[in-house]
């Protein structure tokens, strides 16, 4: 108070009255109104959880069923069936890549010259020949050549 007298003598003379009022019975009702709001919040929080579960429960059940079926079918198949894709890959990989490179870049006339040349010590096997034909000709060209000869 002395502090205020020194800083603001006029202000310190004023009555410290709050010039506001409230509606009649405001503080008597406030606690009850607040309690109603709390109860409303308690009720909205609880059903929101159950509503979420109600919506997603069938979907979650369906997803779990699919996962179970997948595991029951896929795991035994994977475990007991032979791996066919790998076998094919092994066969393909067994062809010499250098030979493939030579065959693919060989033009048609050079290829037939090599075939006709009896002196040439040809190392072509039937498989290599098949590989060359399938790599450089389509079905139409193969059949066309067959008709001519």
């Amino acid at each position: 108070m002395d502090e205020l007298k020194n800083i603001a003598p006029e202000l310190s003379k004023l009555k410290k009255e709050v010039p506001f009022s409230t509606p009649e019975g405001y503080f008597d009702d406030f606690s009850a109104r607040l309690q109603m709001r709390i109860e409303a919040e308690k009720q909205t929080v609880a059903p929101r959880k159950t509503r979420f579960l109600q919506i997603f429960k069938p979907a979650l059940g369906l997803a779990a069923s699919f996962a179970l079926i997948f595991l029951l079918v896929y795991v035994p198949l994977k475990t007991f069936m032979p791996d066919q894709e790998n076998t094919v890959a092994v066969v393909t990989d067994s062809v010499d890549p250098n030979l493939m490179n030579v065959i693919e870049h060989l033009d048609e006339s050079s290829f037939f010259t090599m075939l006709d040349d009896d002196n040439t010590n040809s190392e072509f096997t039937d498989d290599e020949l098949t590989m060359y034909v399938s790599a450089n000709f389509n079905d139409y060209e193969i059949y066309e050549n067959l008709d001519i000869h």
Partner: protein
């Protein structure tokens, strides 16, 4: 912390006694918090909304209260922050420039049917509304509510020295306004 506050806190943390303890807390602090908020926002309806929001926040976060500060300063802190947040959102929604904030609060005061002060009280409120926000809060807490600087420092998260300086400047400005408009 007073014994009654300690009992309220202990009961609030007990699920069986929680509702009753919260009722006691509201009855104990509703008036003090209401007037603290009302002096910041001026209007009764706004003060009512903020007071409800304050207690709802207390209800939701009672488990996080660490008892490092007193119950009373914790409640004041929440009420102060809620009031500031409310004023800021009101400013944004109404696109009120910072310089016109005081005029907005003055309109709020004049249009409130529950303002019933005399001419000198109206003048005092006008002087207070001309203060910057922080000085206004400090002035109200010290002049009307007569809080200790130590408690105010906890509520406003600032130093006692800064609060003393703020109050000093605020009181000087209010004094000048009252003298000049006589």
């Amino acid at each position: 912390m007073s014994d009654s506050d300690q009992k309220i806190i202990a009961d609030l943390k007990d699920a069986n006694k929680r509702d009753l303890a919260f009722h006691v807390l509201v009855r104990t602090y509703q008036e003090r918090l209401y007037w603290h908020i009302r002096k910041m926002v001026m209007n009764h309806d706004d003060a009512d909304d903020i007071l409800q929001n304050t207690f709802m926040k207390v209800w939701r976060s009672i488990d996080t209260f660490r008892e490092e500060s007193s119950l009373f300063t914790w409640l004041y802190r929440i009420a102060t922050n809620e009031s500031i947040t409310f004023l800021n959102s009101k400013k944004k929604k109404s696109l009120i420039p910072l310089s016109e904030e005081n005029e907005y609060l003055m309109e709020n005061l004049m249009s409130d049917p529950y303002f019933e002060g005399e001419a000198i009280q109206l003048k005092l409120q006008q002087a207070i509304l001309r203060l910057p926000e922080k000085q206004r809060i400090v002035f109200n807490m010290k002049y009307f509510e007569e809080l200790k600087y130590e408690d105010m420092a906890q509520i406003l998260d600032t130093s006692v020295g800064a609060l003393k300086a703020s109050y000093h400047h605020a009181a000087k400005k209010v004094e000048e306004y009252i003298k000049s408009s006589d």
